[in-house]
Symmetry: C2
């Protein structure tokens, strides 16, 4: 599977494409940062993020897009821009029918380092090792985007099993409801 | 001038189009709400908001889009969705080259009621009176969208004067800098 990871932000939006399956060595397909000028109008910055994400989708045709889940508790000053950049990334994917998954920062850190409280350097080091890169991707937003994509590939089997279990459970409930209705009428 | 006001939200996104100029009676061109199902995936909800906004832009061809400025301080639980819906509205406008203005809730309330701390009922009553409607638009999000459009029309002359003053000041500074450079070389 090919996944585009997006570490959303208005000033720097990290993007990274990883290909592979859980349990096998992964390959980095591309990594970069979409930047927008801090002094531009907000609507123009969102448009620039959209153009950047569209280019990455056009060029790399990912099957999944993994975006960092934004929390309102952290970094109150920048969180609105982050939420808005993430909305643009999700929108671009949804328009193309590409499934979007959200992963929390601690899920991503736990997936690639084993600890949900790992620091940026540790995440960068593990991304470098897991993708067999010569050096950690810079800036940190680019490394975080790759970590998101890796996290998604590794979590996907578990998530698919969960989704199947939920779907099966709903089906069983529907069948049971149908059967009980059949009895009462 | 014709203005689309947007009161952003994922569950209910208020939209209202008002036409007119400051100092003259205003006319409501259209009002409504773009709704998305609360149980849908976030990316699909953003896509539904985009489709709704696009329809309003197609149908009413506004010259300006006025969006409520979202603050992270209020309603922490819903603020992320509001920020994301507002990003979609701004993006749709920017893609068409339509200027976007952000107004705070207290600016809007002060514009239509004279008080920045007016309640929903007061805003609804003034929107009804100013647009000469038979009854207050329902739900409140729809009335708020109209209030945003009215606020933008009334504030536009002052904002344009301010923008002109800033531009003129920059021009004078540039001329002065050029003149002083001319003297030293």
């Amino acid at each position: 599977m090919r996944v585009l990871g997006v570490d959303p932000g208005l000033t720097r939006c990290g993007v990274g494409v990883v290909e592979g399956v859980a349990g096998r060595p992964l390959t980095m397909v591309g990594v970069g940062v979409v930047r927008t000028p801090a002094d531009a109008e907000l609507s123009h910055r969102l448009l620039a993020v959209e153009e950047g994400i569209e280019q990455w989708l056009d060029e790399h045709r990912p099957e999944f897009v993994a975006v960092e889940r934004v929390f309102s508790q952290h970094n109150v000053r920048t969180v609105m821009g982050t939420a808005q950049a993430s909305a643009v990334a999700m929108l671009c994917a949804a328009r193309r029918g590409i499934p979007v998954a959200l992963h929390t920062p601690s899920e991503v850190k736990a997936a690639v380092t084993g600890s949900g409280r790992a620091d940026k350097a540790q995440v960068g080091a593990m991304v470098t090792r897991l993708l067999r890169l010569a050096a950690p991707p810079k800036p940190a937003d680019a490394a975080d985007a790759l970590a998101l994509a890796i996290c998604h590939i590794w979590r996907a089997p578990a998530q698919n099993r969960l989704r199947q279990a939920v779907a099966q459970n709903r089906l069983q409930q529907a069948v049971a409801l149908h059967a009980s209705k059949g009895r009462t009428t």
